[in-house]
């Protein structure tokens, strides 16, 4: 007890250099107050904040602020009104007040400076993507490397033709808005053209009625594009069911009965991918799979002969369809990837060699 009495006589050291300013990057009605800790901070109960609009009559606001903390945000201010602040160091009943802060006014900001990096990326990225799509629309030729998977597709169709056995194309259980399903529809067109040219039986069971109707048009078009409109068999593309496991069981039935030489499993898949890949492997067919569902890719890689991984189905569909929109998109994303690689290398050089806090740029 003696020490406290002793200190009582000499009065607590007050907090110093109290500053009040409009909280940055906020929607207004907030003022931040900070100060230098009192020299007796270690034995204090804490600090109290006082506010006034005219330098004289102050009122306490908020709760006791723990010792060791040197800032607080006053969240009930009216924008445009002047406020003065002072901070009191508190120990039991003893309070020692700091000098007044300069007057401060709160105001809302239009730009949140901490989000500048998002705005820069948005403008930069949007600019690149739109530039390439605009170029593609103007008919500019783009180079995309031949995806390894497309070689595999040619060989697989060739194999089926030699053996005189059908080809099964399963587009997955996605809907028309899934990007993987759209990519699969483009690849269906390519496979159908080859089947038409080599007169190989083509089987295409569907899960979603809308995707089924779009696929039928594509396959019909492919047969006439190769000059064999008469060879198109309308029953080769058909709707099965909209229940996940029933669809997988039905496609398994085709694999076992029709014994296709090649199975294509390209599109949007979920847990039923296991059933399809397993039955196909056990019938000895060559299987080519492709999906952007990362959780299903491990099973396709181990169960199928060739797997298109994630974006490769988008690139394959762009390569095949030569559609300017798709080509523009792929080129835009490619240049964005190139920039990310360059950014990583440059930022790492800064991070390793200089003291500049490079990581704060990316908060």
């Amino acid at each position: 007890m003696a020490t406290i009495l002793l200190l009582g006589i000499f009065a607590l050291a007050p907090p110093t250099a109290v500053r009040a300013f409009d909280t940055p990057d906020d929607g207004g009605s907030q003022i931040t107050v900070d100060w230098q800790l009192s020299k007796d901070d270690a034995i204090l109960d804490g600090y109290e904040l006082y506010r006034s609009e005219n330098e004289t009559d102050f009122e306490k606001i908020g709760f006791m602020i723990g010792r060791g903390r040197n800032n607080i945000v006053d969240e009930q201010t009216q924008d445009g009104k002047k406020y003065y602040y002072k901070v009191a160091a508190v120990k039991d009943t003893v309070k020692s007040y700091s000098d007044l802060s300069a007057p401060a006014k709160s105001s809302p900001q239009w730009i949140n400076r901490r989000k500048i990096n998002i705005i820069v990326t948005l403008i930069f990225l949007g600019g690149i993507i739109l530039y390439f799509i605009y170029q593609a629309r103007k008919g500019k030729e783009f180079f995309i490397r031949k995806i390894a998977g497309l070689q595999a597709i040619d060989e697989a169709v060739g194999r089926a033709t030699e053996m005189g056995r059908p080809i099964l194309y399963c587009p997955g259980i996605g809907y028309i808005e899934d990007i993987a399903t759209i990519a699969s529809l483009n690849i269906i067109g390519e496979v159908a053209k080859k089947c038409a040219r080599y007169n190989t039986k083509f089987i295409n069971p569907h899960f979603d009625p809308i995707v089924y109707t779009v696929a039928r048009e594509i396959v019909k078009e492919s047969y006439s594009a190769v000059g064999r409109p008469d060879a198109f068999d309308p029953d080769s593309v058909y709707y099965v069911t909209d229940s996940q496991f029933a669809y997988a069981a039905a496609v398994d039935g085709i694999m076992v009965r029709e014994k296709p030489a090649t199975n294509f499993l390209i599109g949007w898949f979920r847990a039923e991918s296991l059933i399809l890949a397993e039955t196909g492997a056990s019938t000895g067919a060559i299987q080519i799979a492709g999906t952007d569902q990362v959780s299903q890719l491990p099973f396709f890689v181990t169960a199928c002969d060739f797997t298109l991984i994630g974006e490769e189905i988008y690139a394959a569909s762009a390569y095949i369809s030569k559609n300017p929109m798709l080509l523009g998109g792929i080129k835009g994303e490619d240049s964005a990837k190139f920039i990310i690689i360059a950014l990583l290398i440059v930022a790492s050089l800064f991070g390793l060699l200089s003291k500049f806090p490079i990581l704060n740029l990316f908060d």
Binding site: G27, L125, L274, A277, E278, T302, A303, M325, E333
Partner: protein
């Protein structure tokens, strides 16, 4: 009109989705809050009921045209009606006007959920363990260097994360954790960059009206 109005709406609402992230000003924040709380919430509720409508229509057509398995569509529709009645009039806690208890046998919506949906839902996917076992035996082959690398990494993780791994050697769990923390993160992050760039491209194309497949067929 049939195409331009929706495209204008997508542009306006798209921009309204972006700016509140970047502009803290109260005008933007309150309109964003108002739009979400009033407009988006009510439209969302109707969207749920729409999904239901198309499901019932598909099964109703199935019954009318006697397609295969049409009898089971009756099972679906009857279950739906019975559960809806018990739920709507029995109340979420079984305290509604409709009595939901006969002696000790309670059939309020929560007991129905715990004793019908839980067994059905969880067993539906418990099947997969069996399917995976047969696939492991008959289909998962080290047919390429990539597949063998995949299987080796899988074996380490499958053993390393279990107490068995810890008993075999204290390093195994840390090695399995290292596989998840470093190479796996590198692989997933590399793939993720590409996927996200693809989604951003699609998002920007939809907002700016370049991507119009969502409008569906017809003029």
């Amino acid at each position: 009109m049939k195409r331009t109005l929706p495209l204008i709406l997508v542009l306006i609402c798209g921009v309204l989705g972006i700016i509140p992230f970047l502009i803290p000003h109260p005008i933007v924040q309150t309109t964003d809050g108002f739009f979400r709380d009033i407009v988006l919430r009510i439209i969302g509720a109707f969207a749920l009921v729409l999904g239901l409508g198309s499901l019932l229509r598909v099964h109703y057509d199935k019954i009318k045209r006697r397609q295969n398995n049409w009898e089971y569509s009756w099972v679906l529709i009857i279950t739906f009606i019975v559960v809806s009645i018990i739920g709507l009039f029995g109340g979420t806690q079984g305290t509604g006007p409709l009595p939901t208890r006969i002696g000790t046998f309670a059939f309020d919506i929560q007991s129905l959920y715990l004793n019908i949906e839980v067994p059905l839902g969880s067993t539906m996917f418990a099947l997969l363990a069996f399917l995976m076992a047969s696939a492991a035996y008959r289909a998962f082959r080290a047919r390429s260097t990539e597949a063998s690398l995949l299987l080796v990494a899988a074996f380490f993780v499958m053993i390393g994360i279990l107490p068995l791994g810890d008993r075999i050697s204290h390093q195994l769990p840390s090695f399995a954790q290292w596989i998840m923390d470093v190479p796996n993160v590198a692989g997933q992050r590399g793939i993720q960059f590409g996927v996200v760039l693809g989604m951003l491209t699609t998002a920007l194309k939809i907002i700016l009206g370049i991507e119009r497949s969502w409008l569906g067929g017809g003029e």
